[in-house]
């Protein structure tokens, strides 16, 4: 069989960083291949090189036997090499049928038919019907996309990308942000479609369980190279992969937490907090306490109100009522920069690195911004050297611009940036989201170290395993209310107690 895609000796460097380094691989049609690798391994760069968003420094890309190395992105799409984006490509107000009709019309070259009803254009109706059947979306056909559950929305997005009937569709973390259950549902569907259609899918994915269950072939990337390539069984048995990816060598925190820290005085006190987005009452009478020296987890599903709680504390989404105290000082009515200067550091879920500033400048301006501290507390003296000691990678990357970092590196930078402000309290929003397992383990070690260096931490997480590993105490949040408070030790002893709140079986959540 002629390979669908052949990549030979591909290289791409960003300054010092060799994102893709002498990489070669072949892909056969019909294979369900997954591309995995630790954060910063070069997966996204490879996808960008294949789709033509980036030009390689060296090497050759062949698609169906034809050299496409110099071809522009849109020309590659026309040949049938497409990607789906992580960003939403659905029109939320349109129904599922209409969302699917648009790419089909574009493919059929019948944009003029936009003006007629779908059932008047037989080939359109046939094709949309086929897509609905293929992706098991018939039951949802008349619902607006906005009303679908997260998982179904993601399926619709993939279906839209597949509607153009590309020969090869690259999916870069199509299940990011979904619960484990939704993830496996989406990927099982994808796997089924991949077995039937003329489209070959290549998936970039983090969830190892799912990858090992579904893939025909797994390509492991590490430091810009292919570390291993084979069937799931071969990969599982590969010692190099174990070391690099599954994380044998990365020191995690000890399984047993070193006795709960002596409870200090309350550092953060939140009392009867109520926060609204427009008319919707997102946080309802929420109260919680974080004591000095503690790691406290706020656990809940997507949309439970975790991010909004942190944003309310930070002053980014000011609460309508309630009390927020840092030590004895009320944060109410303060603007975010004043709250930051009072000693609260914020690490948002989506990292939000200042993308056109160098790594070093991202860190320096954060230190400068809180230069004049208002609480008279000298803080814990975080500086560049200490942040680099915590994240040695950042030291080697310090001249790169924020947008040249991988997702995992950006996450480290976001944490480092918050530390540069010498916070007494660190708000971490979903630190483990989207990270490879080994990186998550390393991150747990980092969080532990930050705590031992005297920073109190409030952590919002969906990943109960990660959070309970670290937390002295946890609050379970659901629909904007605290449902349960438990010690970390009891959650580690009875993880099943969390099932009801965290596992996402049952009703799919609203978009």
């Amino acid at each position: 069989m002629t390979p669908l895609l052949r990549v030979a000796r591909l290289r791409k460097a960003f300054g010092e960083l060799r994102a893709v380094d002498d990489l070669s691989l072949e892909l056969l049609p019909g294979q369900f291949a997954c591309l995995i690798g630790p954060n910063g391994a070069g997966k996204t760069t490879l996808v960008n090189l294949l789709t033509g968003r980036l030009a390689p420094d060296e090497g050759r890309i062949e698609f169906e036997g034809r050299d496409i190395t110099g071809l522009a992105a849109h020309a590659r799409v026309r040949l049938g090499l497409a990607r789906s984006f992580q960003i939403n490509s659905v029109f939320p107000q349109l129904t599922v049928v209409d969302n699917l009709a648009i790419p089909v019309l574009a493919r059929l070259g019948r944009s003029g038919a936009m003006l007629s009803r779908i059932d008047r254009v037989p080939e359109l109706e046939r094709e949309v019907g086929r897509l609905l059947a293929e992706w098991h979306l018939e039951a949802e056909r008349a619902r607006p996309a906005a009303a679908l559950s997260h998982g179904t929305q993601r399926l619709l997005e993939i279906a839209i990308a597949a509607a153009a009937r590309p020969r090869l569709l690259l999916l870069d973390e199509p299940t990011a942000g979904l619960s484990p259950l939704e993830k496996s549902q989406v990927l099982a569907q994808l796997r089924r479609v991949a077995g039937t259609g003329e489209t070959t899918f290549v998936l970039v994915e983090h969830d190892m369980d799912i990858v090992f269950r579904l893939a025909d072939r797994i390509i492991v990337m590490h430091r810009g190279r292919v570390l291993a390539d084979g069937t799931p069984d071969e990969i599982r048995a590969n010692p190099a992969v174990r070391d690099a990816y599954l994380g044998g060598t990365v020191a995690g925190p000890t399984a047993e937490r070193p006795g709960s820290a002596p409870p200090g005085a309350p550092l953060l006190t939140v009392e009867r907090l109520n926060t609204f987005y427009g008319q919707s009452h997102v946080i309802q009478d929420l109260s919680l306490t974080v004591r000095r020296g503690e790691v406290v987890a706020l656990l809940g599903r997507n949309g439970a109100g975790k991010t909004t709680t942190l944003r309310s504390v930070m002053g980014l989404t000011p609460p309508r009522s309630g009390q927020v105290l840092l030590g004895r000082r009320s944060l109410k009515g303060l603007s975010p920069h004043e709250i930051a200067q009072t000693g609260v550091g914020y690490v948002p879920e989506d990292r939000r690195i200042f993308r056109d500033l160098a790594v070093r400048d991202n860190l320096l301006i954060a230190a400068r911004a809180v230069g004049q501290r208002t609480d008279g507390d000298a803080g814990h003296g975080w500086d560049l050297a200490r942040v680099y000691a915590l994240f040695p990678d950042l030291a080697t990357l310090e001249r790169l611009r924020g947008d040249q970092l991988s997702g995992g590196q950006q996450k480290m930078l976001a944490i480092g940036r918050a530390l540069m402000g010498n916070p007494q309290l660190l708000l971490l929003d979903e630190p483990s989201e989207g990270l490879a397992p080994a990186v998550v383990r390393a991150l747990a070690g980092v969080v532990e170290r930050i705590r031992t260096e005297g920073v109190t931490i409030l952590l919002a997480e969906q990943n109960a395993a990660f959070a309970t590993l670290l937390a002295d105490r946890a609050y379970i949040i659901e629909n904007g209310r605290i449902r349960l408070e438990a010690s970390g030790a009891s959650l580690r002893a009875h993880p099943e107690a969390l099932q009801r709140y965290i596992a996402v079986e049952g009703t799919p959540e609203a978009g």
Binding site: L316, P336, A340, F354, R355, D356, L357, I365, G421
Partner: protein
């Protein structure tokens, strides 16, 4: 012929540099505050009037006049931003345009009330008058001075935004204002400072033209159109784009008057249209400062 072309190029460069001063402030304000400041031409005019007054009524030298004009208009900028612009940031862009356009009218009339509608005759600063022989022709020394001043401002802005910590704070706030606030940057104040700084650049541009241009109400309207063209060609919010755009427009005017004088006014618009067809976001669009 070659000499004529080169000479005309010099004329174009000096025109380009005064345009650059105005465009720099305009694109900076847009890049950071996301406000299209129609009143920028009025601030330019205000700078010219202030400089003129310092020289003619207070008998100070030209250098003092430049400083007073820049600082005075910066203060006006602080007031305009804090009192009027701040409430409209969250509103659709049309409100910003209406508000800043209102300031054009208000400043024009204020100038008429304070200085009268008469056309002021500007004096030439000592040492910058006269001409030098360049390429066999007489070239005004003052135009050479403007070219140097424009170049100096370009170097200064590069140093400010690429090297200084203040410049990096501004870039961070331009990139993601909410996250900038969350790391402790006082973003509202920073916005005020940037607006005042942009206003001072406009005033400097106005004050620098005083010795070679008639100062009159409405002088801002002419330059703001060209400055908008420059900023759009360069890419909204991009300083280096504005620099290149100003050079293009300055040279285009210089050669336009030489070759197709009847068509000169349209040339800048034609160039803008062509650039936008080729690169809809402007030459350097999509990149930040």
């Amino acid at each position: 012929m070659t000499q004529t072309l080169l000479f005309q190029g010099l004329v174009g460069l000096s025109g380009a540099m005064s345009l650059w001063l105005v465009s720099a402030g305009l694109t900076l304000i847009f890049g950071v505050l996301r406000v299209l400041n129609f009143a920028h031409g009025a601030l330019y005019m205000l700078g010219a009037y202030l400089a003129l007054t310092v020289v003619t009524s207070f008998h100070q030298d030209f250098w003092t006049a430049l400083v007073v004009a820049a600082l005075g208009v910066a203060v006006v900028g602080v007031a305009v931003e804090r009192l009027f612009l701040r409430p409209v940031y969250r509103l659709p862009v049309a409100y910003q345009l209406l508000l800043t356009f209102a300031f054009v009218l208000i400043f024009d009339d204020l100038v008429k009330i304070v200085w009268g509608a008469i056309y002021q005759v500007p004096p030439m600063p000592a040492g910058l008058g006269g001409t030098v022989i360049v390429l066999g022709r007489a070239f005004p020394v003052y135009h050479l001075f403007i070219m140097v001043a424009g170049g100096a401002v370009a170097v200064g802005l590069w140093a400010l935004f690429d090297l200084s910590l203040w410049g990096k704070l501004v870039r961070a706030a331009a990139c993601d204002p909410e996250m900038a606030a969350a790391v402790g940057i006082n973003v509202p104040w920073l916005f005020t400072e940037v607006f005042a700084f942009g206003a001072a650049l406009a005033a400097l541009g106005g004050a620098l033209t005083v010795p070679v241009q008639t100062v009159s109400p409405g002088m801002g309207e002419g330059i703001i159109i060209d400055a908008f063209i420059v900023v759009v060609i360069g890419g909204l919010g991009n300083l280096w784009g504005a620099f290149v755009g100003a050079l293009l427009i300055g040279l285009l005017h210089a050669y336009g008057t030489l070759f197709v004088p009847v068509f000169d006014l349209a040339l800048a618009f034609i160039l803008m249209a062509m650039v936008l067809i080729w690169r809809p976001a402007g030459l350097f669009g999509g990149q930040t400062t």
